[in-house]
Symmetry: C2
DNA sequence: TGTGTTCATGAGAATCATTCTCGCATGACT
DNA sequence: AGTCATGCGAGAATGATTCTCATGAACACA
């Protein structure tokens, strides 16, 4: 998924980056950069919007955060570093990480059958969680 | 995937919409709206950019075209109306439609296990096609 | 702890795809 | 042909993301 990164770029520890990561740790769903920016401001840990974007990008590069590109804006979530997919509530954003070994093999096989190399895949499942279903 | 559409909106046939669909029929990969707009202009079949976007949106609504949201811009491709996924060359855009019954069942099952309803999923496989691999 | 080098920050401008506005043109139907 | 709802196009507007660049802060080292 991520490249081998021969030159591990040094990452400087700052209040802002810590704040972004700490906030993500407390949330259990995907959130947009703008949402996170607003939340940080509410909590007094003000961080510039551009910096939020930069911090998120760095976290994504480091494999600590997953990004989901929906219709308009991208959403970010603190995730485990092992390969997995998501089951996302399209109403409240609540997310469950799910693994599926079969689809991993399937993707590799079907790609090989068609002569494709350097294969990646993306799989996301969307639905309405139990809480949101009963709440309506 | 698509909503029940109680009032099937009538779709008026115009030169522009026909041109967009005809162009898509000739291409075998995903193309952005801007690309299609440029191609139409080159071929003399000039169509306004806003109209290209509107035509594509209509085609998507009608299930004739699939849309792929990459990093920045959305890409469109004439596709068969039956449910399927894509194997896309990340270099030249060439695309193969692939079906995978197992993942359909898996998605439904894992969603149910977690209490999620009204489930959808999106699965795309990216790679470098044989032609692009040898060409480099 | 002081000092210098280097990278990070942030406010606002810039970018860029997409959508909206609105006056005019053109399909569909009688 | 006549009516009328729709579609068209040029340009403005929108909105998320990125860039600019002067200032501030981390970090390595003495
Ligand atoms: Zn929910
Ligand atoms: Zn996977
Ligand atoms: Zn290719
Ligand atoms: Zn499927």
């Amino acid at each position: 998924m991520t490249r081998p990164e021969p030159t591990e770029a040094p990452r400087r520890q700052t209040r802002q980056r810590s704040a972004v990561l700490a906030l993500l740790e407390q949330l259990d769903g995907f959130r947009t950069a703008q949402d996170l920016h607003a939340l940080l401001r509410e909590r007094g840990e003000a961080v510039g919007l551009a910096t939020v974007y930069r911090a998120l990008q760095a976290l994504v590069d480091d494999g600590l955060v997953d990004v989901l590109r929906g219709d308009g804006e991208a959403a970010y979530r603190r995730c485990s570093p092992v390969h997995h997919h998501h089951l996302v509530c399209r109403s409240c954003g609540r997310t469950v990480e799910v693994a599926d070994p079969p689809v991993e093999r399937w993707a590799a096989r079907v790609a090989a059958e068609h002569g494709f190399a350097d294969v990646q895949h993306q799989l996301e499942v969307f639905g309405t969680c139990a809480a949101c279903t009963t709440a309506r």
